[in-house]
Point group: C2
Chain length 153, copies 2
DNA sequence: GACATATAGTTGACAAGGAAACTTCCGGGA
DNA sequence: TCCCGGAAGTTTCCTTGTCAACTATATGTC
């Protein structure tokens, strides 16, 4: 028997493969939407706003799993790009309401198509049943660990 | 027919679930090894060095999927922590040879055990067959896209 | 009504990685 | 031998996130 067994290999962990594939997907996607002048975090931000019509930064922070500070700066950038606008919350002097500008609203479907294409391209090496299975497994894990935040990075 | 179909939902993408689960695993792991004074990138660095005995920074950059600059700074930090040492490469005046210090070598099995525990804890909600299947699917995707770099972030 | 406490958002300091310029060294031609 | 192109590392600047301190507003308690 060896005095100290060799440490487990990186490749033995599911987390390793998960990170590898996940990073590749995200990096591919980031590169594609870079052409639209937008980052992945900005895409998630815009997409959330598209559904909500108008959202408080604190809620967005909660949903995106980022700090208030990060959201504040993200909003600055998107506002600079004329994709998002801030308005005071009439019911609470501290709060504000974020919403998409027309340009921002117009951009979302464009980005969504890119996201669709990226996802399809990346997972087309799997058969449809395998894709379904992969999705089911991931959702099962997410549910078990009560993951709810939209992942950003 | 609607004039503009609604943009696809984030949740429709496999990449979304992949990122969500992957980020959760990594963040959990990062929090656990923080107690050992080490980051995830540093763990990957140390683990690679453990197998290689001595490695050039450029090779490490290749394997970790990071830039030379990042590796240079990572080596600085680990050297500061007395876990890694630099030596000049006798055969090439430009190169150097990175290796683990005794402290670094002693730390790797400790970190490996934490990694094992983290992985087990995270995926124990899946049945063994499901875990195998998940791993197989991820490796299939990695192979199809020729992913070889150890993911870091 | 006044004050203590909590909450919304902003800001500044810091961390860590990428891109590119830079330094040093190698090795191949003329 | 003397260049000159390329490779190895380092350094600088930029980006983008966290954390914690700060400002302003709201709310509950006496």
């Amino acid at each position: 028997m060896s005095p100290t067994p060799p440490p487990s290999d990186l490749h033995d962990h599911l987390g390793y493969w998960l990170r590898m594939v996940s990073n590749a997907v995200s990096q591919d996607f980031a590169r594609e939407i870079e052409g639209q002048g937008v980052t992945v975090a900005e895409w998630v931000f815009l997409r959330a706003l598209h559904d909500a019509d108008c959202l408080a930064p604190s809620l967005l922070a909660e949903r995106m799993g980022m700090t208030k500070g990060a959201i504040s700066k993200l909003a600055d950038r998107l506002s600079e790009k004329k994709l998002v606008q801030r308005a005071p919350n009439p019911e609470d002097g501290r709060g504000q309401m974020l919403s998409l500008t027309p340009a921002g609203r117009a951009l979302v479907p464009e980005l969504a198509r890119i996201a669709d294409g990226n996802d399809a391209a990346f997972f087309d090496t799997l058969a449809p049943a395998e894709r379904d299975h992969l999705g089911a497994l991931l959702r099962k894990i997410a549910r078990a660990h009560e993951l709810t935040r939209a992942p950003v990075d």
